[in-house]
């Protein structure tokens, strides 16, 4: 998946030090990293605050090298002289230093947080204070240290919803669960349990959940989005990522036939087989037969195929994008952590090329920013603005608040933790209130529509019955006068869901004719839920809803998408926030080479017993890989960028200098978005550098 997991350090680096004041949360005291950047507090430097492009904070060098960092995470590494032999002659040439991209951890101060700051205060209560706070509900969770299944208490602390848990061995742990109490209650209202899977892949029983996974009969939700890893090779070396094979590690790259078997396994699920597939990695474009893989997925019957990629390879090879589209990929699920270089060293430079390749190939793009407080949380508004500027090709922005997988000191965790409402509130602030927190709904809201169609027709429909705390979404419409209108401003979404649910309840046990009568009565009432005065001028929502609900014609949604940007939030869990009630409702599943299907948050939160373990079983040792792939070496897989060349590319210049700031327009509040990234100095544009597509 695209960078949503943020691992605080190598596996032997971090020993968590839970350090609430009063000494009530202490568990271990050394990280063992030797001050090499595990986040333990051995390093003193504070996070650079946007001085230079890529995040290294090296302002002078940044200027000297035309906006780049001169040796930071962007991978340019400045320049070095190397000797090149051409025939008998040996010449010295300047080439970019070949540093693996995004391989450096940004430094974050872990100086004690201000306990009075409302963001950090909930971490700094005494046990007595915490216990005096109102309990919202109880759940089951795990101890982040020893993985003992323990009780978790979800409680209200001011505006925050927190989770606290007590392990007899490792004592207390407390974490932010949801950063807005009112929103928590609103989202919770439409929570419901789905039907699960009639033919589970593993008869685990589920009493030892989450260690019985596979998927078992206890699971409540069918596969909504199936993830299939096609390779663990990657051309980047992101410092937080555990998804790719590092040098000397086994290579996991199933053959086309093995993948085909996995696809068909997913399609055999009952009663509702997976219909959306995400091909992921590593970097899936590095699978040598990726086109064939996509074709097989299409042939297996997946209607929606997404490719989870950095976009770099497609940007460089636009023809491949066309082939990928023809093979069946409809959506590029592209990591995009920020508009600026500093926030997005991963693919800031290549994103314009990738967008253009998709534009030409007619592939829709979902931008996927991983949101980390204090790293890129100031760019959420500008990412939406970027999406609106490229709304001809960008269909959605799917924000992923960081999942702090791996053990991590409390002081660092509290600084980087952000939950769905935390990100939503920042978006509200950064978009002048155009996208307000009231505009967001949890994913189970959509249940009303599929339940209604099912009750009417008797045909099983996609059922997104996930836990309300896992995801949120809204739609933005860009009207003809550039006004941005969230869907909630003209549709009574809650009213719609309630109306449909009432109809479903009424239909229970009734005959065919009675069902139809109830349906007609319900549909006639729907136009009342649409505020025609406020709806975008170009969309007739009454007609659209009718065609979806009566004709079951979802192609009308295509027309809707053309005038809209879908905004989503998906917050994956980690050991600190883990809630077993959430994981048993997960609908984002990984299909494994051994036939198992695993929910995202068991696959990634306990990789030692799921992801890494199973992939290792089906991997090829590095030595064997080298033998069977003549000429291959680890370094040859890596991508090294030429920043100067990329910055001189007309697409880069066009993308980052000709953006509109929609939020600066009077119709949208008139205040520009923070970090609006028309940031390239004019000199850079006028430089006479010969533009060419990077090799």
């Amino acid at each position: 998946m695209t960078g949503q997991s943020y691992h605080p350090g190598d596996e032997n680096e971090v020993r968590a030090e839970a350090s609430l004041n009063e000494g009530s949360l202490s568990a271990g005291d050394s990280c063992g990293c030797g001050g090499k950047g595990c986040g333990c507090g051995e390093t003193e430097a504070a996070m650079p605050s946007g001085k230079s492009g890529c995040g290294c904070g090296n302002e002078l060098e940044a200027e000297a090298s035309g906006g780049c960092c001169g040796g930071g995470s962007c991978g340019c590494g400045g320049e070095e002289e190397i000797k090149v032999t051409a025939g008998k002659a040996q010449v010295q040439v300047q080439v970019p230093k070949q540093e693996e991209i995004n391989s450096k951890r940004p430094e974050v101060s872990d100086a004690p947080s201000d306990a009075m700051d409302p963001i950090y205060a909930p971490y700094h209560r005494t046990m007595e204070e915490m216990e005096s706070m109102p309990v919202i509900e109880r759940t089951m969770t795990v101890c982040p240290e020893c993985k003992l299944i323990i009780n978790g208490t979800i409680y209200k602390d001011g505006d925050n919803v927190m989770i606290r848990k007590f392990c007899p061995e490792h004592k207390w742990a407390v974490e932010k669960y949801w950063e807005d109490y009112d929103m928590y209650q609103k989202m919770k209202r439409y929570n419901y349990f789905g039907r699960g899977i009639d033919n589970p892949n593993w008869r685990g029983g589920g009493e030892n959940c989450p260690f019985d996974c596979g998927i078992c009969e206890r699971h409540h939700t069918h596969t909504g989005l199936a993830n299939v890893v096609v390779t663990n090779r990657c051309h980047l070396s992101c410092w937080y990522c555990f998804f790719y094979a590092k040098e000397g590690e086994p290579i996991y790259e199933p053959s086309v036939d093995e993948l085909d078997k996995i696809f068909r396994n997913l399609k055999s699920a009952k009663p509702i087989p997976a219909n959306a597939l995400q091909i992921t990695g590593g970097e899936p474009m590095m699978h040598p037969k990726i086109i064939e893989v996509v074709k097989r997925a299409k042939a297996a019957g997946f209607d929606q195929i997404q490719l989870n990629t950095t976009g770099i390879i497609l940007g460089q090879n636009p023809d491949t994008a066309v082939e990928i589209r023809k093979a069946g990929v409809g959506t590029l699920y592209m990591s995009y952590d920020g508009v600026s270089k500093r926030a997005n060293p991963k693919n800031h430079w290549e994103a314009p090329l990738a967008l253009d390749a998709c534009r030409k190939a007619k592939i829709g793009v979902v931008l996927v920013p991983t949101v980390i407080r204090s790293i890129n949380d100031h760019e959420l508004g500008s990412i939406i603005n970027f999406a609106l500027n490229n709304s001809d090709v960008v269909r959605a922005v799917n924000f992923q608040p960081v999942s702090l997988v791996g053990r991590m000191p409390t002081r660092l965790r509290e600084k980087q933790r952000i939950s769905i409402p935390g990100a939503i509130k920042l978006i509200e602030k950064q978009t002048n209130g155009v996208v307000a927190k009231e505009d967001w709904f949890s994913v189970p809201y959509t249940g009303g529509i599929s339940k209604f169609v099912e009750a009417l027709s008797g045909e099983f429909k996609y059922d997104l019955s996930i836990h309300f705390a896992c995801g949120a979404a809204t739609y933005l419409f860009l009207d003809s006068d550039n006004k941005i209108i969230p869907v909630t401003r003209f549709i009574d979404v809650a009213g719609l869901v309630e109306t449909l649910q009432r109809a479903v309840d009424e239909m229970q046990g009734k005959g065919r004719l009675a069902r139809k009568a109830i349906a007609v009565k319900t549909l006639l009432g729907l136009p009342k839920l649409i505020d025609k005065k406020n709806q975008p001028k170009s969309v007739n929502f009454s007609k659209l809803l009718t065609s979806i609900l009566i004709k079951k014609d979802f192609s009308s949604m295509g027309a809707l998408q053309m005038k809209s940007i879908f905004l989503g939030m998906m917050h994956f869990q980690d050991e600190y926030t883990y809630d077993i009630h959430r994981v048993e409702k997960c609908d984002i599943h990984y299909a494994m080479p051994d036939g198992q299907v695993l929910p995202f948050c068991t696959f990634n939160v306990f990789p030692e017993v799921y992801r890494d373990k199973i992939q290792k079983q089906y991997s090829i040792p590095a030595k064997e890989w080298e033998t069977s792939h003549k000429g291959w070496n680890y370094r040859a897989d890596k991508y090294f960028r030429n920043v100067k060349e990329l910055e001189a590319h007309p697409l880069y210049i066009k993308t980052y200098t000709q953006m509109k700031d929609y939020f600066a327009m009077p119709v949208n509040g008139g205040k520009g978005v923070a970090n609006f990234a028309n940031e390239i100095p004019v000199t850079a544009i006028t430089q006479k550098v010969q533009p060419k597509t990077p090799a």
Binding site: L148, I149, D198, N208, D257, K261, I363, D392, D594, G595
Partner: protein, 211 residues
């Protein structure tokens, strides 16, 4: 390399000796595959072992959460493919890669498993331990892929009884609709409405947006 801490791995090496997967011959590599319906697929194990242990002492297991953690700890071993401990039924089974198994993966003996469980405070009586051959392909791989149904849920808004009666009718109706769509064939294609233009087709809609 799995995510277990190096210190744990080193400790394991001391106890159990060097990894059995360290040296792999070509012959062993070839054994990592199987031909299924004419297609070569990777299959890391064939004949391995399953040990079933009954009559466990609940006091030793403590409770369900501790039992689940013990299961987790068993699964941390690369040589343990699946483990299941049932606190209520006082039994467990472990599917593991025994030293005699003909594959290149990590291996572990029953004695090593027993020692580990003893270290975790769970003592096993030899008389209640049953070790049997386990065909990974037939008993595991072939059952996790394309599993059979164990229940049947009705659609929303339908009771089980109602669905049992109506199911066939609804399915027939669905098939009929599908046939109708398929039959439309050339005629259907001739009269088919032009599909909605997709995004990024380079045209502009009524509100000036590109699509």
């Amino acid at each position: 390399m799995d995510r277990r801490e190096n210190s744990i791995l080193e400790e394991e090496k001391k106890v159990y000796g060097p990894s059995t997967a360290d040296s792999i011959s070509e012959n062993q590599t070839e054994k990592g595959y199987i031909t299924e319906n004419g297609v070569k697929v990777r299959l890391p194990y064939r004949m391995i072992k399953k040990v079933t242990i009954t009559g466990l002492d609940q006091k030793e297991l403590i409770d369900i959460p501790h039992t689940a953690r013990l299961q987790y700890r068993l699964l941390l071993f690369d040589a343990v493919i699946k483990a299941k401990i049932e606190f209520v039924k006082k039994r467990m089974y472990i599917i593991y890669n025994n030293p005699e198994a003909d594959n290149a993966k990590e291996k572990m003996s029953l004695q090593q498993l027993t020692d580990f469980l003893a270290k975790e405070g769970v003592h096993i009586k030899p008389e209640s331990t049953k070790v049997e051959d386990y065909d990974y392909y037939k008993q595991y791989y072939s059952t996790t892929f394309f599993p059979e149904s164990i229940r049947e849920a009705p659609p929303y808004g339908w009771t089980r009884e109602q669905w049992a009666k109506e199911k066939i009718r609804v399915q027939k109706l669905k098939e009929k609709m599908e046939r109708k769509t398929a039959h439309s064939g050339i005629i259907g294609k001739l009269f088919k409405k032009k599909s909605e233009p997709t995004k990024a087709s380079g045209k502009t809609n009524s509100i000036g947006q590109h699509f």
